[in-house]
Amino acid sequence: MSTQAPEAPAPEEPRRGSLTSAKGRMADPIFKWAVTACGTIVLVILALMVIRTTSEAWPVFAKEGFFGFLTGQEWRSGDSRTEITGTYGAWPFIYGTLVTSAIAIVMALPLAIMVAFYITHLAPRRLAKPLSYTVELLAAVPSVIFGLWGLHWFLPNVLRPFFEVLENLLGWFFLFEGPIRGVGYMAAGIVLAIMILPIMTAIIREVIAVHPIEQRMAAYALGSTRWEVMRNIVLPAGFSGIVAAAMLGLGRALGETIAVLMLIGGSQSWSTSLFGTGSSMASHIAATFGEATPEARTGLMAIGVALFLVTMIINILARVIVRRLGRMTGDAAV
């Protein structure tokens, strides 16, 4: 393209990349090699993650045993530099993680399904896109802001009165036993529900948006109402997508740290009441990491490995399901 350059007789410059120069011939393989190297970085990072953290946490697993670590009731960290002297039982934190995530899924999944159906089937066409953007904007709110808002506004103004009503009505049931401290599993779970709503809505929305229009039209032609089309045609077809969305939401809920840390109360024991305080795996790591001894950090690393394993399994399963449903766009953003 620049062979006409009048005052540049040096052949190397203008002919760089042309088919005959040796430099040009090398450019393509080099470029390919470079982008391939960048591509493999993801795999290298993941491999390093597994190797580094597992080897770091190994002494704790070796002492407690993997299942002993998961089911142990007591967490008492030692301060030795060379060996593991404390007792490391992660059950209270695993329990906290499971309970808060369960609350979040139970509350967010039905809402996400309904919102997705509203956006795809009922919303005026012009509103559909702004509405889905608005819900997904919620995913952009940093976790720490959810924590701040949850702790200093949502909890005292909305959740506490709600908890008191709940305790009055259902206090005889072990899940809703008092005393109400405000912070606790329930508060963390409800804020988590708000946080995982966007990703679940986004995925369910995409799953039901790819549902073939012919089937719906056929159902309408048979005289179905919109509700019947949604309930009997689209919902069953989108079932696996909804499962995948729930699992991805669960993955997010399990790993969420800061907002849970600010709302769960941070005790190292566990209680059966949803109003009780506790810690989740992630929140316990974040809460104690700063002041922890090197040995305690080994224990925290072990919690991290357990958390990683669970979220990886859930994520891989969910992604496999989503993959089967065909190419998804847009969910990278949430």
Binding site: G17, G24, D28, F31, K32, V35, C38, G39, I41, V42, L43, I45, L46, L48, M49, R52, T53, E56, L111, M114, Y118, L122, T134, V135, A140, V141, P142, S143, V144, I145, F146, G147, L148, W149, L151, H152, W153, F154, T201, L222, G223, T225, W227, N232, L248, G255, T257, A282, I285, A286, L300, M301, G304, L307, F308, T311, M312, I316, A332, A333
Partner: protein, 301 residues
């Protein structure tokens, strides 16, 4: 439910003139419409509440001092998050320079040199990586660089590495989608002019996808700015402005916000709301502008 839809329709009567059963069906339809609309409204409420409350509590706190002064002890009023803003800017600049080139290069590899077994593996694990808990990324970078093979200690660089690991899959996935949107005719036109593959990619495909790449990168930045958990184990936090590249704990706005929100004194909590407003505004601006650029790009096709 299923008995209702499988009931054979005997004659062609408009729905409005059907016997009572159909009015029950219409009632259910109406009920569903109302319930779904209410669900939609309910889903919007948290965002509105958060925006309202953060603005209300934060607006009085944010002034010039808030960006130029460091934070006094939590009991005292005044001062600001200069240390946090500086740290966030520093960390983000490093994280962006690490994650965005690598992310886009990975996407180029997946789209331009795929599909093959390698690219689909990378693609799959990029997806999975978006779901890795942020706290675990912090632990990983702590294990790898802070105490591990690197032994670098806390600091700006390791914090940036953690944020970059969080941003990388977001950049890659969105860049990949955008590169796929570039029509093959443009590539073929480039080849037709005698361009090599790398020339086609660098001079044709990437410029054509530029608005979309911007969108993805901005969304990733918006995500990265607000990350707190990974920084707890890597940057560690600091109340003073730290200019060192590595070795001294570095602050950031989310870390400082978290500390401010978790302590009992009113002045510190007020500053946390101020920081929340700044952080939120930044994230929202990035997200909205990114979407806007993206929608412009997709309507231009």
């Amino acid at each position: 439910m299923s008995t209702m839809t499988s009931t054979p329709v005997r004659q062609h009567v408009p729905l409005s003139q059907r016997p009572p059963g159909s009015s029950f069906r219409r009632f259910k339809d109406l009920l569903a419409t109302v319930v779904l609309t209410m669900a939609m409204i309910l889903a919007m409420i948290p965002l509105v509440l958060i925006i309202f409350e953060v603005t209300r509590r934060g607006i009085g706190v944010v002034d010039l001092d808030f960006f130029t002064q460091t934070e006094p002890p939590p009991r005292r009023e005044g001062g600001g998050y200069a240390a946090g803003f500086f740290g966030t800017l520093y960390i983000m600049a490093l994280a962006i320079s690490m994650s965005i080139p690598f992310g886009i290069a990975t996407a180029v590899y997946i789209v331009e040199y795929g599909p093959n077994r390698m690219t689909s593996t990378i693609r799959f694990f990029t997806d999975v990586m978006t779901g890795i808990p942020s706290i675990f990324v912090g632990l990983f970078v702590y294990g790898l660089l802070v105490i591990g093979w690197g032994g670098l200690g806390f600091g700006t660089f390791v914090g940036a590495v953690a944020i970059a690991v969080m941003m990388l899959p977001i950049v890659t996935r969105s860049a990949e989608e955008m590169l796929r949107l570039v029509p093959d005719e443009m590539r073929n036109a480039g080849y037709g002019l005698g361009a090599r593959k790398w020339q086609v990619i660098v001079h044709t495909v990437l410029p054509a996808a530029a608005p979309g790449l911007t969108t993805g990168s901005m969304l990733a930045i918006a995500r990265g700015i607000g990350e707190t958990a990974p920084l707890m184990m890597t940057a560690f936090g600091s109340g003073l402005i730290v200019t060192g590249f590595q070795g001294d704990p570095q602050g950031s706005v989310p870390l400082q916000l978290f500390k401010g929100a978790a302590q009992p004194f009113e002045a510190g909590i007020d500053r946390a709301w101020g920081a929340a407003l700044c952080l939120f505004a930044l994230v929202l601006i990035f997200t909205v502008v990114a979407r806007w650029v993206g929608s412009k790009a997709s309507t231009a096709d």
